[in-house]
Symmetry: D2
Subunit: 358 residues, 4 copies
């Protein structure tokens, strides 16, 4: 139940960072979609560690192997099994973690909940788990592309360095031109410098991602407990280190009165549109045809390359220092994950919406 995401379009994932591999089963993918495996691999490459000096130097090829559900290059409507073998494991790197609870990690809570823990690299709570999401998200994007729907995320804040404008103020084509994945190239440089500096200090830093969904049909979303923004929020908060979600004006809206925040309808040559889009493309939990945009806050990664106090499994105070290879900032590599979760959500809701009328 809880390693599955989605209602109709549904990913069930498995795998730990230092087991044999990660993978999953994708169910409910529409039949007859051309599977562009190269595109799926490109998405995985965007998530992969070791892409730049900003990210961990671990080189994990993360090659996806599809096992079923595809025949002669097209989806058959049957479940798509897939696996990404773990290749570059350094289980010994984690021997020093065996006996301690790492601060702000899942170690302690897993141990209490399950009574039995795989300590190697965080086990199931490792970021490698998100590989399966990127695969399912890439397939969803292939289906959404046929519908003309696009999904784009970018880094909008790193620590105190922040893009002041909203998504429409930037040229989103520039996102992939820098390591930080920020459409403002100047700010991107500042952010990159900061991450590099923080990394040198053995510390980590957080930030925000912004995501925009363009060309979403009107009518996606279920009015009460399946509001489209609640589904997106749930999707985003399921990503490791996510601490907050806002859509439309979100927190900024606190400065506005109702008369300022309402999006007034007008007739745009026969099409009903809104002058403003403070609502973020969703009204009453249902998409209204305007751009959907939201923001996700990620805290600094909990694994530090400096010494920290903690307790060991017997509850005795000790200290801990992680070894080698860790990102100082989750943001750049989280971009494809945010896009993947959004793509899965939109495709799921698109399929669900087909059942609204006979």
């Amino acid at each position: 139940m809880f390693n599955s995401f989605g209602n109709i379009y549904c990913l069930t994932s498995f795998g730990e960072s230092h087991g044999k591999g990660v993978g999953g089963v994708i169910d409910g993918f529409p039949a007859g979609i051309i599977i562009d495996e190269e595109f799926v691999q490109q998405e995985l490459n965007r998530r992969r560690p070791g892409q730049s000096i900003l990210t961990t130097p671990r080189k994990e090829p993360d090659q996806v192997e599809f096992l079923s559900g595809i025949f002669e290059g097209k989806s058959t409507g049957c479940p798509i099994g897939f696996i990404i073998w773990n290749k570059n494991q350094h289980p010994n790197d984690y021997n020093n973690l065996k006996g301690v609870y790492r601060p702000s990690h899942a170690d302690y809570t897993y141990t209490v909940k399950y009574g039995h823990r795989d300590h190697r690299g965080g086990g199931r709570s490792s970021a490698r788990e998100t590989i399966s999401r990127v695969v399912a998200g890439a397939l969803a994007k292939l289906a959404l592309r046929q519908l003309g729907i696009s999904i784009t995320a970018y880094t909008s804040q790193v620590g105190p360095i922040k893009l002041e404008g909203t998504y429409s103020d930037y040229n989103l084509d520039l996102i992939e031109t820098n390591d930080v994945r920020c459409p403002d190239t100047e700010k991107a440089k500042e952010m990159g410098d900061l991450i590099y500096k923080v990394k040198g200090e053995g510390d980590t830093i957080g930030g925000t991602l912004t995501c925009v969904i363009k060309n979403c049909p009107i009518g996606l979303g279920q009015p009460v407990f399946g509001k489209l923004h609640a589904a997106l929020g749930n999707a985003m908060l399921s990503i490791n280190a996510a601490k907050a979600f806002e859509y439309g004006e979100g927190f900024k809206g606190l400065k506005m009165r109702g008369s300022e925040q309402n999006d007034v309808f007008y007739n745009n040559n026969g099409r009903i549109e809104t002058h403003t889009n403070h609502s973020g493309g969703i009204q009453g939990g249902i998409s209204n045809g305007q751009d959907i945009y939201f923001r996700v806050v990620f805290k600094p990664i909990a694994t530090l390359l400096m010494e920290q106090e903690t307790v060991n499994l017997d509850g005795i105070d000790t200290t801990l220092k992680a070894r080698g290879r860790h990102d100082a900032c989750v943001l750049p590599r989280a971009v494809p994950i945010v896009e993947a979760m959004a793509a899965m959500t939109i495709l799921d809701y698109y399929l669900l919406d087909k059942t609204t009328q006979l």
Copy 2:
């Protein structure tokens, strides 16, 4: 599927603002719990309109009638049906809405999605829908009380007026002593004055609620797609007008590095605890025994008592002015709703956690 909330403990709700009534079916409530109907009614009274000069003067008695699942004062384990009849309907108040799309309401999106709309008072998208949540939340609270778990929400910001401290800086017993439901009595007065002023101008204003869950057992939450905070976020974002959710440090954490935000473990007389609680009581998606706290942003209510531009059903530009009886700020009455959604979520996850080990 989408008028249900919860996995094991599950509310399925029905009802529109100007139909016969609102109600629902509560499934999965543990057998043998004493049903304190007076407590349920008190919770409904906290949500009810017309409690103070700050809220709409509509006096809706909102009397719950239980229809099943209770025998000799205790839950039987069978589904609990209930209804709250609509008594104080003024359908004529809404005649002027029949032909127009209200700005930032669900009118337009419902019409496109369903092709057939109940325009009276917002129909299903009305705030009356939350009555069913308060009933299911009150029952959940009765069960959680037996486990020693408490859930408390309060108004922490109205427009620019904001509590600077966190929940532990306040005496939460003061929350219900003022109409705004704010534990800082001085700030409460300021907030109340602002709401009153905004109301006088025919306008509306937003704000934030903070919620704290005390004494939650360690181990609730599912690691990947069922993280406890994602479930809470989904629950909160399902409430009308909610625009953002953050837990633990949330947005504030953007100012901290990993070395500052990590919660260091220590041995507190044999119990493993953390010195700080930046994580908000949840690590790796699982409760760690510390207080769980989060914040929800509500936008200003979209219904204004001033004239607004909009279009009618034919897409022709027109103006609109709502009549009588509307809140200028959703916050005070949203407090019991936020608590109810949190209580339902925690009970559901408590029951789920029982299946983790044989």
Copy 3:
């Protein structure tokens, strides 16, 4: 979770035989369907006790009251709440049951499972629970009628008296012309006489119902765990007293070899059809456009009007004799229930099938 039936089209029901009423919430009903309330009431009347000398003389009006989800005579796409008030309760009839476990009833298992039991008339395990199903089934029939799909059940066996032919050997228009609901009027008389005789002896008798679904589109069903016949079987076995389910040739097929039971395809003027229909209209779990037919076995009702041995709540041996008003055979009144469950299943799978391709 377990008082809900269906994936997209979903009934969640509540209510005990001697509580205030029975009812439920219908979710996922397509928007824009004309709600013929008279038809719904007719279906309830077919299920009602006291229709004939064969059934219990209790006269329960069983008037449905819709509470939401319908506006101006059409479904809005919002959940449809409904209630049927219990009017003709005789709780005192059951006082003698308070302290004993009735043989082959749910009394004992409920008490162990829940620790707290509503003994009046069987509580939740009463046949009155099926009223909600008939309401949801009637709405499903209204939607299926628009698609040209019809569902018809009839009594095909009572004790040893059995229709030898299959559904296509009978004029199904005759079903409602007799109290037994059997299309063979002569056999119907025999069956009726037998039920009357058994009733006079204070005993009960079982039998079988046959159900046929005509004009079902090709393609409904999910290949592995959601096979159409498995969904129908699950639906039928959820009806009280159902002990077996077979579709197509079922048990009879044990006499045939593969070469006899296979349904050979042929080209019927451009349409692919099968010469025979041993498969019962479903191949590989998916409808193939031929008639779907199946049979359900119902055991004799456990409530007898004669003395039986049993134990009381303290485990002490005692005897028991039920009072007044009970059916001697569940078959005639089960006909509309079987149809209702089949209609709900087919509508649910019809809606699901819409998500198979983009």
Copy 4:
């Protein structure tokens, strides 16, 4: 949604007969259970083709490879991914099937439903899909063993040759001593001879399996739509070629009146038991502590080694003859599959039952 089985203990499966492999993800398996991989392999061997002269001579090793969720020999509570690689593929065997619809197979219905078909060996509708079930069933058995619950199935009928007694009349230890898996060694020989003869004629034959669950705790099952026998029926009807399900007396009960079929309670030295067990261990949908037993009818396998008429993809009449390697009777190899589905169901309901009381 439809390649998953179970609520809490849940298998999601993937794979086609002639793709890379079959496998799945097992979610909700309790943490801390010792994984006896040898036992899992033995169960797979029981399902494997080529075990005896009665079954297809294809030798498929069907070696399971676990990919996650197990650490130091125990389940961790995380999802268990697994794969069984397809090794002995003969895709050319199926080239002659590419252009035709095989009678009583899923070919035609799949093609209409999905518009795109993997014709090789039946693709997803192949019996190889059940391998994943046997793996998940074997794990469930390991958990149930800790609870003292045992599940045993056997062949009780092949064509007209039938065991007259019920399960308690036989020594179930003899089941695995013959190729037919029948506890009556004499009848087993007759059955085996019949299967061998039918096979020689290029034909196939059906039969029934009986399954008994011993030592099931009282209280498993959900009263209305989640009745234990409905869950078992749904599980059994999801197996290829299953055409009927009966539990307790089932069809035989048609010969009994209520006074004969009721199971009378008595006090067996302080334990409440029933003299008879016509109910099959389930009353009101809930286990009552007596043995649970049921029977499943399997039709003859549709693939014949003789010529059959059919149509090709263009709807033109043609003939078809399958090549080599096919079982003439599904029964012997279906025994472990029936046990697996029963084991998964019972474990799932056992875990669910833990949520009934606080």
